[in-house]
């Protein structure tokens, strides 16, 4: 209980500390102490703006997911570069609705960000009831394939990471 | 070797900036111009970092960081303005 009061968001504290050290580009003892103090103080000061706790069930899975997405971004860019430099008459753009199974807000925003960064798709809008994501695709060959790929690559691992609060 | 690569990279990024600038001028719609500004600041970051490597100075990095933060805010504010007709709620 005491721990929760001093560190309302332990993850945020760690991230802030790391950012402070990176910004100063040094690991002097002075910066470690000052950054540590700020990292404890800022989450405490702003905790009323962060009402909900973020539940991450398997942190290692999240790290694995991020590395996987980074790799996918590399491949995606080669594909997009080809599409952009190729003849544009061949491109078949379109809007598609993707049905979400994720319910946690953090999970949904992470999925939308991932979709925007990977091949030929940008997430444009979320319906009011949070059930469909409107996606614009640069080139559609087969809609079912795009949806299946998003589910297999991104939504399934995210479903395992974020539990419903 | 590094100097040659840097020179080529400078030319490429300069062309990129020119292209986004043309898009900024011809539009045709408002979101197009916002997108062109967004691209312009990302390209500027690339140019500044290249300049930093070329002049062997880490000072330009700070400017790049500021441009990244301010550019993001600018894009957000402009899009929000189009969406709601108001920035603050």
């Amino acid at each position: 209980m005491m721990f929760r009061r001093i560190f309302p968001h332990p993850l945020l504290t760690l991230i802030l500390w790391a950012i402070w050290l990176l910004l100063n580009n040094s690991i002097d003892p002075g910066h470690i102490v000052l950054g540590g103090a700020l990292a404890v103080f800022i989450p405490w000061l702003t905790s009323s703006y962060w009402p909900e706790q973020i539940n991450i069930r398997r942190p290692w899975k999240l790290v694995h997911y991020i590395l996987y997405v980074l790799w996918d971004i590399l491949i995606a860019n080669v594909i997009v570069a080809k599409l952009i430099l190729g003849p544009q008459k061949k491109l078949n753009p379109g809007f598609l609705h993707y049905e979400l199974q994720l319910t946690s807000p953090v999970g949904i925003s992470l999925l939308a960000n991932t979709i925007s960064l990977t091949p030929g798709t940008v997430s444009c809008d979320l319906t009011e009831d949070r059930r469909y994501l409107l996606i614009h695709a640069l080139h559609i060959d087969d809609v079912a394939e795009i949806k299946a790929e998003i589910y297999r690559k991104f939504e399934k691992p995210l479903l395992e990471i974020f539990v419903v609060c | 070797m590094l100097n040659l690569a840097l020179s080529i990279a400078f030319v490429m990024v300069a062309i990129a900036i020119l292209l986004s600038f043309i898009r900024l001028i011809i539009g045709p719609s408002v979101p197009d111009r916002i997108l062109a500004l967004d691209t312009l600041y990302i390209n500027t970051i690339a140019l500044l970092i290249l300049l930093g490597i070329n002049l062997q100075s880490a000072l330009y990095f700070e400017a790049a960081l500021l441009i990244a933060v301010m550019g993001f805010m600018g894009t957000l504010a402009l899009s929000k303005y189009l969406l709601r007709g108001d920035i603050m709620e």
């Binding site: 570069a81 960064l117 997430s123 | 990129a16 292209l19 916002i34 967004d38 970051i45 960081l65």
Partner: protein, 105 residues
């Protein structure tokens, strides 16, 4: 050897930045133009920043990691601003190219 790695990273970065802007320049409608800058430019700048990190780590003693910060920041913010711009464009009904398909749920 390391100089080669740096040169390749810088050239790759500049190339992707250029591809992003070419996409912005030549694609026919706003929604398609959105794809170029959000993906290609972000990766291009990321590659250049990694090259800068390696360069300054070698030149000075100790590592220089604060370039990672800008890279991370760009990778987090690019999709967010793309999403908002797309939302704004849909809101004010920006024209789409005729062959855009509308796929229902």
């Amino acid at each position: 050897m390391l100089e080669w790695t740096l040169a390749i990273l810088i050239l790759l970065g500049a190339f992707f930045t250029l591809v992003g802007s070419i996409g912005l320049f030549k694609l026919p409608d706003f929604y398609m133009r959105l794809h170029g800058p959000t993906k290609a430019s972000t990766l291009g700048v990321g590659a250049i920043l990694v090259a800068s990190a390696i360069h300054f780590s070698l030149k000075t003693d100790g590592v220089s990691l604060h370039e990672i910060l800008v890279t991370l920041f760009l990778f987090i913010t690019a999709p967010v601003s793309a999403h908002l711009m797309a939302k704004a464009a849909i809101h004010i009904k920006v024209k789409q190219v005729d062959r855009t398909r509308q796929l229902e749920k």
